[in-house]
Subunit: 190 residues, 2 copies
């Protein structure tokens, strides 16, 4: 990241979301996003490979935080306790501007097939990272994969609640609450 362009990533994300909302995802070019952000196309491509990835830039960071959170959980933690610790770590990293972007992000993803597909891939990628970290702790499959899936579902559900302007809780609190609801649903299934 170039130091002489403060908040370039955030400016690009903001510009992209504004343009996607105003004129549609398909009608927006990288050059327009860069221009709206007051940056060059070269700067854009220093941060993102294409316009789609602007909206999924956090995936690697989140996957790492989730995996590290699972690895750092106490040895005696159950798989779901380790997942809860991972959600604490990942959700605590979110900043106010990510909350502010949330509603527009969810709207553009929901209305664009290409982005829904990318979101499904992100979901699978985060689940795979958590499942690998759980297997490292000795959790066998298919238990590790299921616990990881619950973690990503709790993350997604809590994100949607957090970015809603009426939410009165923190992202970590909402993630714990969503995971509890999923645990209750699990019990109802067995």
């Amino acid at each position: 990241m170039a130091r002489w362009e403060p908040n370039a990533r955030e400016r690009l994300v903001r510009a992209a979301l504004d343009l996607f909302a105003e004129q549609g995802y398909d009608n927006t070019a990288v050059a327009q996003i860069a221009e709206r952000a007051g940056l060059t196309k070269t700067t854009f491509f220093r941060h993102f490979p294409d316009k789609r990835e602007v909206l999924f830039a956090g995936q690697e960071t989140h996957a790492q935080l989730l995996a590290d959170g699972i690895a750092a959980a106490p040895a005696e933690a159950t798989p779901l306790e380790a997942v809860a610790a991972a959600l604490d770590a990942a959700t605590a990293s979110f900043r106010p501007f990510q909350r502010e972007f949330g509603p527009r992000l969810l709207t553009v993803v929901a209305s664009t097939a290409e982005l829904r597909e990318r979101a499904a891939f992100k979901h699978a990628g985060l689940a795979a990272a958590m499942a690998a970290a759980l297997r490292e702790r000795g959790v066998p499959e298919p238990t590790a994969g299921l616990a990881a899936e619950l973690g990503v579902r709790a993350f997604d559900a809590a994100y949607a609640r957090w970015v809603d302007a009426t939410a009165g809780s923190t992202f970590p609190e909402l993630a714990r609450q969503s995971l509890d609801e999923l645990r209750t649903a699990l019990i109802s299934l067995t």
Copy 2:
């Protein structure tokens, strides 16, 4: 589908998988697939929108079979019993050529990021179809979504087992077995 081109879809899938295995997915063009199948590009595009979709052509059919299977389950069936019935219906529709294609299909998908992404979207699409059918039966969220997720995981795990040449069981039998293993994993999580 044009009646005067017997098995055109199957021939195109076979040609695509052969070419993807021989020269790679990225290096294969639609024109080559059509030529290898002894068909025209026009015929190709009558069956598939692009080369990627050749490998995911069954998604709509499977989603419908899974949703119908859930809808047709007895009123007193639990969510997982309805999912099991849906897996019976969907897996029983598979034909021997789909088993024969399986190993090459799994290999090319695993080795191509674009196809792994599409596979994640298929997974999400099948889960969404099953979850909607479960909600129609009165199963609330997030229980419906979780039960549907288990169904797709059982489907995927059973498919990988079925296409293995050493498998001695039918696809429906393997799906039931995979679902049972997931149910046991659920219990271990709670």
